[in-house]
Assembly symmetry: C2
């Protein structure tokens, strides 16, 4: 493997790898495909989409705390969400909150967390997990993370790939290669690369092949390795992040943030780190079969809510009052108004105090286009 920039060989021998593990939760995305439920002041991660009584953020925390310890979870979120995040996570220490003045995508969010943590504790292994995904089996999740930590400790950029249960077209896939022989990671495979959301025929072929896994956007990697890999493709971004990290725990933080943050490159970590690492042969994947969903749109939410009962209309909302003859689709009620559906199947109705959405599961992915149209037309008060 290449050894330029940050050096990563020889680290991780002093303590057990899992003891050097730090969870990072980027809590930034609004979840535009779930508008008008999810919106700027109520992003997806602050909703209880499973009916568990917990927000997705809280559930993410509770899933990670047994692995890294609750004092070793860093949350990267927007300034506007600070209060809501802290209300959800009262255990969250001040030093573990990274506030973004504006969203700069996942490379900046995760990269800054890595840079700060690496300064505080050289050799730290970080695991980045979205704040707004749903995972159905925390035990199996933990097993996969522990294997991924072993891979990370050996210098790999590790990810966790989900065994597909159907030819989903809403997810990206990981093309898996040969086994990697690493102690503590018996199921590790080399990842040949990523593929974007496929069409249905391609998705079917992926599932039949048995060598493609869903990309759940989880990355487990030594912080120094992450920064090294980032520096290869985004040297300016890395420089900015290192400058921020250097000032972070000093009185200069505010000044440096104001100067540096606005100019950071916006790029997803998939493009800046994961794909290049795959090409370099240092991306590894732990296949996992725990139930997972990114709840990317209302069709996903309907499926999740119905819990496999195909003949049910899913209903979300504490005070929902629904009178319906529909046997499929979803109603999200935030108003308590009576909602009456007649003869509409696979319907999606999202009823909020200032905006109403009516569409079908089939068109659920297109919700984002409405949000875009509202932005363009300046009607941002409902976004």
């Amino acid at each position: 493997m290449a050894q330029n920039g940050y050096s990563w060989s020889g680290r991780g021998t002093e303590t057990e790898a899992v003891d050097r593990f730090y969870s990072v939760i980027p809590a930034g995305g609004i979840g535009s495909r779930l508008w008008p439920l999810s919106r700027a002041n109520a992003p997806k991660f602050l909703h209880d989409l499973t009916g568990s009584g917990q927000t997705l953020l809280r559930a993410t925390w509770d899933r990670l705390a047994p692995i890294s310890g609750g004092d070793r979870i860093m949350v990267v979120t927007g300034r506007a969400h600070r209060a809501a995040v802290e209300a959800q996570l009262p255990e969250l220490a001040d030093e573990n909150v990274v506030l973004e003045s504006e969203g700069k995508d996942s490379s900046a969010a995760i990269g800054l967390a890595a840079a700060i943590l690496e300064r505080r504790q050289p050799g730290v292994i970080i695991g980045s997990f979205a704040a707004d995904h749903v995972i159905g089996d925390n035990r199996r999740f933990r097993q996969a993370v522990v294997e991924a930590i072993a891979l990370a400790d050996e210098g790999y950029v590790a990810t966790i790939g989900i065994q597909p249960t159907e030819p989903a077209i809403g997810f990206g896939y990981i093309d898996c290669g040969d086994r990697i022989e690493i102690e503590g990671a018996p199921s590790a495979l080399r990842a040949n690369g990523f593929v974007e959301k496929p069409d249905l025929d391609t998705a079917r072929a992926y599932v039949e092949s048995g060598t493609y896994l869903w990309n759940a956007g989880m990355f487990i990697v030594r912080a120094d390795r992450l920064l090294e890999q980032l520096g290869k493709t985004q040297p300016e971004l890395l420089a900015g992040l290192l400058e921020l990290a250097e000032a972070w725990d000093t009185p200069d933080r505010g000044v440096v943030v104001d100067r540096v943050w606005p100019r950071l490159t916006k790029i997803a970590i998939d493009y800046s780190v994961a794909e290049p690492s795959a090409r370099e042969g240092v991306l590894a994947v732990i296949p996992a079969d725990f139930p997972w969903d990114d709840v990317g749109d209302f069709a996903s939410l309907a499926k999740l809510q119905a819990g496999g009962r195909k003949s049910d209309l899913a209903i979300l909302g504490e005070n929902a009052r629904v009178l319906s003859d529909s046997s499929s689709g979803i109603v999200v009620s935030e108003t308590g108004r009576l909602i009456s559906l007649i003869g509409v199947e696979n319907i999606v109705v999202v009823d909020t105090p200032d905006a109403l959405l009516v569409t079908t599961a089939e068109h659920a992915q297109r919700v984002k286009s409405v949000v875009d149209a509202l932005k363009v037309s300046g009607r941002t008060e409902v976004l």
Copy 2:
């Protein structure tokens, strides 16, 4: 013709028939198929469904005033609607308001108006016209009414039948027979009878035959004749109505109403008077070709609103804000909320402060079943 009960021969010779004409507007029906737009405290006739700026009731008044004179229009409505009706019709004289303590269907409503008016002015001809229909050509409407008055003056129970423009399945039809030779009613036909809402094949056959007209529920008849015909099929109802009429313009009205009104038989005038009159050979029809619609459901309303533009989504509501890619259906907005539709065609969305309806034009007739279900379940606060 039979001459039992009220005698009707020889009347109407003293003054021109049209000078003895009195309009009656039964304004009672809620319009359940237009729920939640139409409801108990905001019935269909109090809505502007055409976008004209006028309620249907006001438009009905303005259509009738040039025929009977505004001082000769009687409105029969529920006590709960008195204030709203008077606000719509400031010209309406107190003596021309008949308030129902509870709805007793059209035989009681129109029969009581007839009985009161016959007492006040023997020989009066009444014309009963729904408060919540839409008519597109007041001149042709007036011509038809004037012909019908001539028929009524000769003792016929006259109605106005609308030339079908399509094989509608939402209307009843009138089966027309031979011409009737009456001075002043050159287009008069004998009506063989009524047929209920047909299926599509039957409706097509009706339209092709050229001898079936839409039943618009308009009845023009001498008051004494109406009462006579009613007495043949509903003698108890007639007795009650005559008792009410006798007390109406006296201090006893309240006492008599309280005693008699609750026990009146609920029956539509179509069954108590019109059909029996057809069987007896005294029902006559004036064919008319003015645009007419009873706006019976949201599919009708969508069609009416679109004004023939088949590629438009109809939008109703002063403050409607709709973002949509739909080219058919209707949105009714009473809240001013942003309403966003994606990929839904022939959709019906009715957005009111306390209730939301989502259905399709195809299922529009089934809206009433929701209202019924709400009644049964006791959720009357939204009705």
